[in-house]
Structures are given as structure tokens and as C-alpha cells.
Symmetry: C2
Subunit: 356 residues, 2 copies
């Protein structure tokens, strides 16, 4: 059997519940596709703060570094909202991204046919949307030098947006490679009419593009991209952009599908290591009730099979199982209409396992 170590970091809110279902699915996948998974559980976010005083304990970091893949639930909640910057649950996300050098955040956005009506966009605009935002995740304003100073003239705050050529090159190559497996279109998003870092970004993209002659490249300014995502989302294939623009655009792209509660994500580095988590948050309001929707986490595990274990077949099997459960009219409470059968989180996980 193919042996893999998976670090499981349930986190806060509904995190533990949805992660349980994803682990269930992984166990079934192991039997079907000949894997032997070892699951090691670690603390992260608010849960880690409560136990250890740190959002990302050393132990969690070490375990994740040694693992073949990391499965994350969600972090954050009102309990820790007033914590100072360094003791906030989200710090753990930034910390683990940087420590594991997970520089490529992949956020596919495609509507589930059965949920298209949930979009605020017209059906004809949403149908056919199938894009992926490839966001740079370890550079830019997120990790540049920060400063706050008191001057005669009041306070001043500074953030620094830094990009190195090699940081741009690796994410751009990742985007082109992903495009090759898709519709072969890359939209590189920047603000080259204003930012020096965007001008460097654009020149690196131009230098790298000839290595992928089969992929069509366009440059787009970030303000225009924010518009075109609303206007003609189906025209995008792969969008590649720097960290902050990617944060904004990937959330915009996710919401317009109407399926945001169902969307997975992967954060990849060089080699096979990857961190997989749902796009949605920790939903503290419904935590512990057993009613959370586990689909985004289960689909994140499909991304794990594909990107960390190179197993497209297992990935597809999971995706198809999810679609079948949806087709059969099963829903968790968040999505259930009169015509649906409402299941608990655990029942939903079982159904997906059954369909596999």
C-alpha cells in the first residue's frame, strides 16, 4: 500500500465536524485505491490558543512539515476576535503558509448545477463558469515589513509590497501548468499602470510565457478583473495574481457561483506537500450542532488526492460521489428545500462514502 502521513488540523467552530467527514472519505478512498493513511491530529487557531497560548504551536508545525499533506478545517471565532494581532487564530494560517512555503493557493470556482439558483447572478451568466484562481500566497503585502510610528504629525503606518523575481516565476509557472490541464488560458492580473511590483510581475510573465506556447495569455488590470468577473465570469480559465489581489478576487469569484459553501482549496509548495481546506469559515453560530455542510472539506480531500498524491482517479471518484449525493436530492440544512432530504453532517459523510 502507498503509505501517507496526513496531518489533520480541525481548528475551530464547525472545523472538527467537517474534518471528521473528510477523514471518513479518506479512509474509504484508502481501501479503494490502495493507500495506507496515518492521521495525526494537531491543534490550530483558537483551539490551539486555548490549550497552548499560541495559534500555531511548534508541535503542529513540526507534524505538518513531516506530513505528506495537511487537512485543515477552519479557524477563528468571536471568542478570540479581540485578541491582539499575534494571538489571533488567523495568524496560524499565515504562519503555516510561510513555514511550509505554500506559495500557490488554488481556488477553483465552479457552480454546482443544483445550486446555480443560489447565485445572485443570472443563470445564463453563471452556467458554464469554471475558473481557478491561482493566488501567490507567501509574498507581497502579507509578509513585507510593517511599521507604525508616532510622528509630530500624528501616527503613520506602513506596509511593504515586495516581490522577488523567483517568487513570481514559480507561481506563474504553476498557473501555466495548471492551464495546460484545463482550457489553456491564463489571465495574469496586476496593476502595472501603478505598481512597480506589478511591472516586475508582468515582465516575468512575459519572459516565462514562451515556454508554454500552447497556452493563451492575457494581462488584465485588477480593477478591470473585478468587473469582468461579474460581467462574464465564464470567460475565465486560470487567473494568476499576487497575494492581496488574489485574496479579493478569489472571494469574489467564489461568491458569484452561488456555491461558496461547497468550494475547496489547496495551498501548494514545491514538491508534493499541500494544505487542503474549505473556502468557507468556521461558522461558530452553527458549531457543535452536527448540521454543518461537509462538502467543501470533502472536495478539498479530492484536491489532496490529485495534487499531493498525483491520483486523478481517486480525486474524480470523490467528486463524482459528491455530485451523486447532490443529484439524489440529499442536502444539509443550509441548502435544503422542501423537495430535499435533509441529512446531518455525519449522515452526509456516510452518504458520500456509500456512493464511492
Amino acid at each position: 500500500a502507498k503509505e501517507k502521513q496526513i496531518a489533520v488540523l480541525p481548528g475551530d467552530g464547525i472545523g472538527p465536524e467537517i474534518v471528521d467527514e473528510a477523514v471518513k472519505v479518506l479512509k474509504r478512498v484508502a481501501r479503494m485505491f490502495g493507500y495506507s493513511f496515518t492521521f495525526q491530529y494537531g491543534l490550530i487557531g483558537g483551539a490551539a490558543l486555548d490549550e497552548t497560548g499560541q495559534p500555531l504551536p511548534e508541535e503542529t508545525l513540526h507534524m505538518s512539515q513531516k506530513a505528506d499533506a495537511v487537512l485543515l478545517g477552519a479557524v477563528g471565532g468571536p471568542k478570540w476576535d479581540d485578541n491582539p494581532g499575534d494571538l489571533r487564530p488567523e495568524k496560524a494560517l499565515l504562519g503555516i503558509r510561510k513555514a511550509l512555503q505554500l506559495y500557490a493557493n488554488l481556488r477553483p470556482a465552479a457552480p454546482h448545477e443544483q445550486l446555480i439558483h443560489n447565485s445572485t447572478l443570472k443563470e445564463e451568466t453563471v452556467r458554464g463558469v469554471d475558473l481557478i484562481v491561482v493566488r501567490e500566497l507567501t509574498g507581497g503585502l502579507y509578509f513585507g515589513e510593517k511599521k507604525r510610528e508616532r510622528t509630530e504629525d500624528g501616527e503613520v503606518a506602513v506596509d511593504t509590497l515586495v516581490y522577488h523575481e523567483h517568487e513570481i516565476e514559480r507561481i506563474v509557472r504553476k498557473a501555466f501548468e495548471i492551464a495546460r490541464l484545463r482550457r489553456k488560458r491564463v489571465t495574469s492580473v496586476d496593476k502595472a499602470n501603478v505598481l512597480e511590483s506589478s511591472r516586475l510581475w508582468r515582465s516575468v510573465v512575459e519572459r516565462v510565457a514562451p515556454d508554454y506556447p500552447d497556452v493563451t495569455l492575457e494581462h488584465m488590470l485588477v480593477d478591470n478583473c473585478a468587473m469582468q468577473l461579474v460581467r462574464r465570469p465564464a470567460s475565465f480559465d486560470v487567473i494568476v495574481t499576487e497575494n492581496m489581489f488574489g485574496d479579493i478576487l478569489s472571494d469574489e469569484a467564489a461568491i458569484l457561483t452561488g456555491s461558496i459553501g461547497m468550494l475547496p482549496s489547496a495551498s501548494l509548495g514545491d514538491g508534493n506537500i499541500g494544505l487542503y481546506e474549505p473556502v468557507h469559515g468556521s461558522a461558530p453560530d452553527i458549531a457543535g450542532q452536527g448540521i454543518a455542510n461537509p462538502i467543501a472539506t470533502v472536495l478539498s480531500v479530492a484536491m489532496m488526492m490529485k495534487y499531493s498524491f498525483g491520483d486523478e482517479e481517486a480525486a474524480r471518484a470523490i467528486e463524482q460521489a459528491v455530485h451523486k449525493v447532490l443529484d439524489a436530492g440529499y442536502r444539509t440544512a443550509d441548502l435544503a428545500g422542501d423537495e430535499h432530504t435533509t441529512l446531518t453532517t455525519a449522515e452526509y459523510g456516510d452518504k458520500i462514502v456509500d456512493m464511492l
Copy 2:
């Protein structure tokens, strides 16, 4: 008569055509409301580059500084697209904003009832949208120090996001004051979980807010705002944010109304000086054909009456004239359906003047 000097900067593409119609409207407004306007024309953008080698000639700047208000058409076009950074038409926009200290960019976004069907969002989501983005315009990444360096390790580029307390305070106060004249809700958008400048921003907002006890304040992270604009745009009243976030969010807000070709903008400083321009661009593809839609520019002139000349009545008269022309079924070519009467740019301006 109230004497006012208006600097008119037609710019590129359809700029001259649409500005002509706005001037027509101003002339009529002058007679109706007792103004004496002097119009001084200046070069800007590509037109200025061609004549003087500079996108923002000193003369244009001086004239604008002495004027009571500035009317701008649009800048840019393919002819100058490959110019180096400092010789690009858009540089003129950044230059004039900074020189005139136009720190508050006001971008109202509301659908015209007759154009709601143009939105890619569902009618029930768009109807009732009536928001204004108040964007900081002279600080942040746009004007911070920039640097590009060659290192052993390849090139590095740096942009700097700087905000001074007083820069934040003046734009935030502007937003609260605007909210007082509207539905009394301010959404302050930042990325306080990551940026030091956003944490300063938030603390200034908190300090200033008690001076406006009649206004409801909420803070929202920029990624969440990009989502909520798509999900429930009608819930926003005044959105206030820093320069780059404002660039992105104001374009997103504009497109979702379906009326982007009709939206005006104002860029204000202290005192009464203001620069007024349509949100849309220079549309080089249809320039010179007399078919451009002048509505956004005419509505920009309504904002001029309101914000630079403090004349709400004249502003409302212009807005109502535009609505009447739309109600009567007149359209420019971009918006004409079978049921409409298609007018040229000049005819459209005349119609608006007639309705006044």
C-alpha cells in the same frame, strides 16, 4: 450672477464629444440658476502627450488649480499604450489628483431602472442598490515609495503602502458627512487582520465615529466586501476605503448595477475644488463617430453643481432631465433596443437640455 471658472479637459477618445454635451448642459444650467461660467480648455492625457510631450502639462495644472471646478472627459488609448510609465496618459490622472489634493473620490453606484436588465445580476438583487464608494485618492500604494533592484538573486520590486493619521481622518470624516445626507450607514473596509495600515485606519475610524452618533458604522474586511457586494449590494450605503481597495471595489460596485456607462464620479479636496469625470473610459473604438453616450459626463456635471457649487437644486434638475430622456425612450447606440429612438451624442445632449 455667480461667477465660476471651469477648467475643461476633454482628453482622448470620446472625451471631447461627451464633454461638449456636458458643457451644453452647464450653459443651460447657468441661465436657469443664475451662474456665469467661464470655460477654459486644457490638454490632458494622450492629447497632451502629442502636443507637448507631457501627459499633464504645467499649463493644464495651473489652469485647474485656479479653477472652481474641473471637468474631465477621459484619457488613454492604444496609441500610447506602449509608452514608458511616466509618459502614459493615466499618469495625468494621478498627477492632477495629487497636485490638487483631491483626496476623496466619490463613486455613486445605482442602477437606472430602465437599465436594470443590463446587469448580470438578478433583478431582485440589483433593484434598490444605492451605494456610494468613498475612496481615498492621494495616499497608499499609489503614492508610496517604489523601487526596483537587481540583486544576486534576480530582480526585486517594492511598493510602499503608507497612511498618515490625518489622511485617514479627513476621508473618513468625508464619508460620515456624506452618510448623514443619505441612509446614515458607513461600511469601513480594510484588511486589519493583515495590514498595519489597516489597523491604523480602523483605529482612526473608531476615534472619529463618536462625532457622528447618528450614523451606523460597521467594519468589513476587503475580501468579505468583495463578496457582499455581489451577494447583497442593496445593503450598502456608504463604503469608505483606502486607495487600492477603493479602485477595485468601486469598479466592482459599478459593473453590478448594469449601468456602468452611465455612472459619474467626483474627486474632491478640502474647500470646494473638485474634478468631475465619467467612470467609463475613453472608448477609442467608437471615438469621433458621434455615437458615444454622454450621460455619465452630464451626471458628473450634476455632481459638480452639488459638491463644488453647493447647489443641490441644480444637481437634481440635471439628474431629473436625464431620467426623463431615458423614460421617453431615447438612447444612444450602445443601449438602443428595437423599442427605442436612437440619438447621436449631440442630439442626446440637446434632448437633455430641452428637458431641463
